[in-house]
């Protein structure tokens, strides 16, 4: 009988071994596929189990977390939500994440392996690290100035530090409070529906995700191309341009807002924004050189990330001469984000060098140790330094005595360019008012800020619209905030 008892015992042991093998299969071999199953709520629960790391502006968090005591425990809170919404985006338990909340989600939620002091050991224990912080490059005062300036209007502001590419301000209005979307309640769902159906599109990030026809502000690019290509060698030489200008190969006549553009100098054409002169300049430079300069500034770059994706600004490369003429004055298919136009101003301000803009200075662990630094982005030479010097002269003239006098700051050198972009079917829409500029304090060794402002519905009266009137004062306030004047 003993033999049979041993056999029976062996089969029982076999059963228990089968259990162990199967448990190892479920818990080790197939665990990642079970974890990844969309119906598995655990990753969501784990994600909100601990407070999210914070996004910092000027050393102060603009985000927070509140303990709800529910299954999805911590909810996102925002300080000055609408002000920073284009930067932070939202972190919603129902609708996911956007912008910095999305781009830096690994750090903020604590899943980034870099956060763990012992990465391999953490893989074994699967212990979550506390969420890290994201330190932004934003300048609080500049951000506030931009938001205040746009108040009640539809538009966007982007400001960059030319020497580094640090983004100092990124504002879009009308805005919304991302805190409304944080939780998983009915209120969050109805806020989501309301925000998505709002015709004003408050969740649209106009500073980086919306492109506008840049209008006359694009003349900075055209001027850079003309000077670099040697089409114009003397700022004060006659340009031999007719007024009106017949677009090559068509009967369309291009005119100007004011008089005195015929054969005028580049200096005056720039100061008084002569369409005819710059349309002809673009044609004289040619598609190849215009394209090269525009792309050097960042147009047609689909890969720009700051670290969230920026909508590509476009300069059409398959154009005839008439289309090239229009493209060169910022119309036809030429479109730019406010951030792109701020990059244009920044390149002029920094001797023709352009650094890729960035928004994250560094990421840190909860305690403050740096996990990853922003670091200086590689620079590229967009135009000859001498061209940049001459463009600065042109832009300074605009502010001193041209269309941009509203941007002048006492105690600083300011260069700018106004723009008024036609749009809509038959140009029937309210024109967009643009202003791009840079500023250098009298005591500063180099320009400290480059700004682009766009105001969509500056005024109901078309005739009154101008970049100088509506957009320049906003740019001025932002620049003053950065310069501390």
């Amino acid at each position: 009988m003993a033999r049979y008892i041993r056999h029976a015992c062996a089969s029982c042991v076999l059963l228990l071994v089968a259990l162990l093998v199967n448990a190892a299969r479920v818990q080790l071999v197939q665990s990642s596929s079970y974890d990844a199953n969309p119906a598995n709520r655990r990753p969501t629960i784990a994600r909100w189990q601990q407070p999210r790391g914070d996004i910092l502006v000027g050393g102060e968090p603009v985000t927070g977390s509140t303990d709800t005591g529910e299954q999805l425990r911590y909810e996102r809170t925002y300080r000055d939500g609408p002000l920073y919404a284009p930067v932070t985006g939202f972190a919603s338990q129902l609708y996911g994440t956007t912008f910095l909340e999305h781009a830096e989600d690994g750090v903020l939620s604590g899943t980034d392996p870099m956060l763990a002091p012992l990465p391999l050991w953490n893989d074994v224990t699967r212990r979550a690290s506390p969420g890290g912080n994201v330190v932004t490059t934003l300048n609080r005062k500049a951000q506030q100035a931009a938001y205040r300036g746009l108040h009640g209007r539809k538009g966007a502001v982007a400001a960059i530090e030319p020497a580094t590419g640090r983004i100092l301000a990124l504002v879009s209005t009308p805005s919304y409070d991302p805190a409304e979307l944080s939780g998983n309640s009915e209120a969050a769902a109805s806020a989501w529906a309301r925000l998505n159906h709002d015709p004003e599109k408050p969740m649209l990030n106009r500073a980086v995700r919306q492109t506008y026809p840049p209008g006359s502000t694009f003349k900075v690019v055209t001027a850079a191309a003309a000077l670099d290509a040697g089409v114009v060698t003397d700022l004060d030489g006659r340009t031999r341009s007719p007024d009106p200008y017949r677009l090559p190969g068509t009967d369309t006549r291009l005119t100007n807002e004011g008089d005195g553009c015929r054969d005028t100098t580049l200096r005056d054409a720039f100061a008084w924004s002569c369409n005819t002169v710059f349309a002809k300049l673009g044609v004289d430079v040619g598609v190849a050189d215009m394209t090269a300069t525009a792309q050097a500034f960042g147009f047609n770059d689909t890969r720009l990330r700051v670290p969230f994706a920026v909508a590509p600004s476009t300069f059409d490369t398959h154009v005839d001469k008439a289309q090239l003429a229009l493209s060169s004055i910022g119309q036809y298919n030429t479109r730019a984000t406010p951030l792109q136009m701020a990059m244009v101003a920044a390149a002029v301000a920094d001797d023709g060098r352009l650094r890729t803009p960035y928004l994250v200075e560094r990421t840190t662990r909860r305690g403050g140790e740096t996990v990853a630094g922003g670091g200086l982005r590689p620079e590229r030479q967009v135009m000859r330094p001498s061209t940049a010097v001459r463009l600065r002269e042109l832009m300074t003239d605009v502010v001193r005595e041209g269309t941009g006098t509203n941007a002048a700051i006492r105690g600083a050198t300011v260069g700018g360019k106004t723009g008024t972009a036609q749009h809509g079917l038959g140009n029937a829409g309210v024109p967009y008012a643009w202003f791009v500029s840079w500023a250098q304090g009298d005591d500063d060794p180099e320009p400290k800020v480059a700004v682009a402002v766009v105001v969509e519905d500056a005024s109901a009266d078309r005739g009154e619209i101008s970049g100088g009137g509506d957009a320049a004062p906003i740019a001025k306030d932002v620049m003053r905030a950065v310069l501390g004047l």
């Binding site: 009988m1 056999h7 448990a23 199953n37 629960i45």
Partner: protein, 453 residues
């Protein structure tokens, strides 16, 4: 037989000869360890959930400790030669079960099961003490074989008079307490099977007619036991308690094999099991659903209905990984209904990880192995068969439940011995441990003063 009898009856003669180590000290040390581990788990849950040691920790530890010590003292006095392992294993598993139930209670404020479970555990240990005290020799049970079988059948039939709970008629509810009589019946049936097979094993093994390769015993010997067995399984099928019927089936086949040594029984048993399983799986919609779930655990997700219990259980095990999330830090409550009973192992798997789960399964394996060892060491067939029967019940039950919740076999609602919420189950398992202690005491004391085995 007679030598074993005299050894028990004449303790004084032992003093002169070689003494077997009794290892009661080992048992005490292991019990202390088991109680400390349970209290540690209890504190870990509190620390993980609220950052403080739960206020009841000292009382809980003292309660469990006093219970275990009582049991130990009784074993020391009345079964001094008993195997030192079954009691600490029972204490540890029961303590761990209480910790897990307490931990799940925290998530269901309206339904606190741990206090009730503690009451039942106390009753279970009391039964353990009573069995060890009253039952001086397990062979006495042989005389009550037919009382046992009548009682078992009565207990099995009783729930038919009561309303069904969650589709199964296996509970009776009296004054707020719900009892699962089938749990007690399995011990009683084990006693009957062991007694009957011990008495008739020669007739079963060597008489009867031979059909082709298999020798079938005469109907006169086989008849009664098959009748009893069919009756109990039939009742269970009626009550839709398929887990227990599977258990009885397995236990019966194992005992028949051990008693007669005929491999043919295993073959016949397996064939019958397969036929029965196929038939029930086809005909019974409840079971059919379970089999479908087992084959396609994520079918409900693909159908857009969300994960079912088995899928949630698999998610829980997967979330545990190698080392688990830590006590109190998992989310096995997502499994929903029956987290504290049928699916309690998922909580163990999630929060203690594969490491903890393996430890628990090894504890069961150790308990089963010690039971078999006691059976092997005994010299009379009834004790042997009783030990084998009780051990294989434990092994099969662990396999059926753990295999069910980890997706190895279709799910059958049953309670993990000691671990799961369920009074009848805890009490029954303490009775099983008491019988194993008694059997192992006889097994080891019979050699004392003689040549050690």
């Amino acid at each position: 037989m007679t030598k074993a009898g005299t050894a028990v009856a004449a303790p004084r003669e032992r003093a002169r000869a070689v003494r077997l180590p009794r290892r009661r000290g080992v048992e005490l040390a292991l019990i202390v360890l088991a109680v400390l581990l349970s209290v540690y788990g209890y504190c870990a849950v509190g620390l993980a959930r609220s950052g403080t040691v739960p206020p009841g920790a000292a009382g809980y530890g003292a309660g469990l400790g006093v219970l275990a010590l009582f049991a130990h003292v009784v074993v020391r006095i009345r079964a001094p030669y008993a195997d030192p392992l079954p009691l600490p294993i029972g204490v540890l598993l029961n303590g761990l079960g209480l910790v897990l139930i307490y931990r799940l209670d925290l998530e269901t404020p309206g339904d606190r099961a741990a206090p009730t479970q503690l009451v039942w555990s106390t009753l279970g240990v009391a039964l353990f003490i009573a069995v060890v005290l009253v039952l001086r020799d397990h062979r006495v049970l042989q005389r009550y074989a037919y009382v046992c079988v009548v009682a078992a059948l009565a207990l099995l039939l009783l729930p038919i008079l009561f309303p069904a709970v969650n589709g199964a008629r296996i509970w009776i509810r009296i004054a707020g307490f719900s009892i699962q009589p089938g749990e007690f019946a399995k011990v009683l049936l084990a006693v009957f099977f062991a007694a009957y097979l011990a008495a008739n094993r020669n007739a079963l093994a060597y008489t009867g007619r031979r059909l082709w390769r298999i020798q079938f015993p005469t109907g006169r010997v086989l008849g009664p036991i098959v009748t009893i067995w069919l009756l109990s399984v039939g009742v269970l099928v009626l009550e839709r308690d398929l887990g227990t019927s599977l258990l009885f089936f397995g236990q019966f086949v194992v005992l028949l094999y051990v008693a007669t040594g005929r491999t043919g029984w295993i073959a016949v048993g397996l064939v019958l099991a397969v036929l029965g399983a196929v038939a029930v799986g086809r005909l019974e919609p409840h079971v059919n659903g379970r089999i479908e779930d087992w084959l396609h655990p994520f079918a409900t997700i693909e159908a857009g209905l969300g994960p079912n219990q088995l899928a949630q259980s698999l998610f829980a095990f997967a979330a545990g990984g190698l080392l688990g999330t830590g006590l109190g830090l998992g989310h096995s409550i997502l499994i929903g209904f029956a987290t504290k009973s049928d699916f309690i192992l998922a909580t163990a798997g999630e929060e203690l990880g594969l490491a903890g789960l393996a430890a628990i399964i090894l504890l069961y394996a150790l308990l089963v192995e010690r039971g078999y060892r006691a059976g092997l060491a005994l010299r009379e067939p009834f004790g042997r068969l009783l030990a084998v029967g009780l051990s294989s019940i434990l092994a099969l039950q662990v396999f059926v439940i753990a295999g069910g919740v980890t997706g190895l076999i279709p799910l059958t609602g049953m309670a993990m011995p000691f671990l799961a919420q369920g009074g009848s189950s805890v009490v029954t398992n303490w009775a099983i441990v008491a019988l194993l202690i008694r059997v192992s005491d006889s097994a080891r004391s019979q050699y004392d003063g003689q040549e050690a085995p």
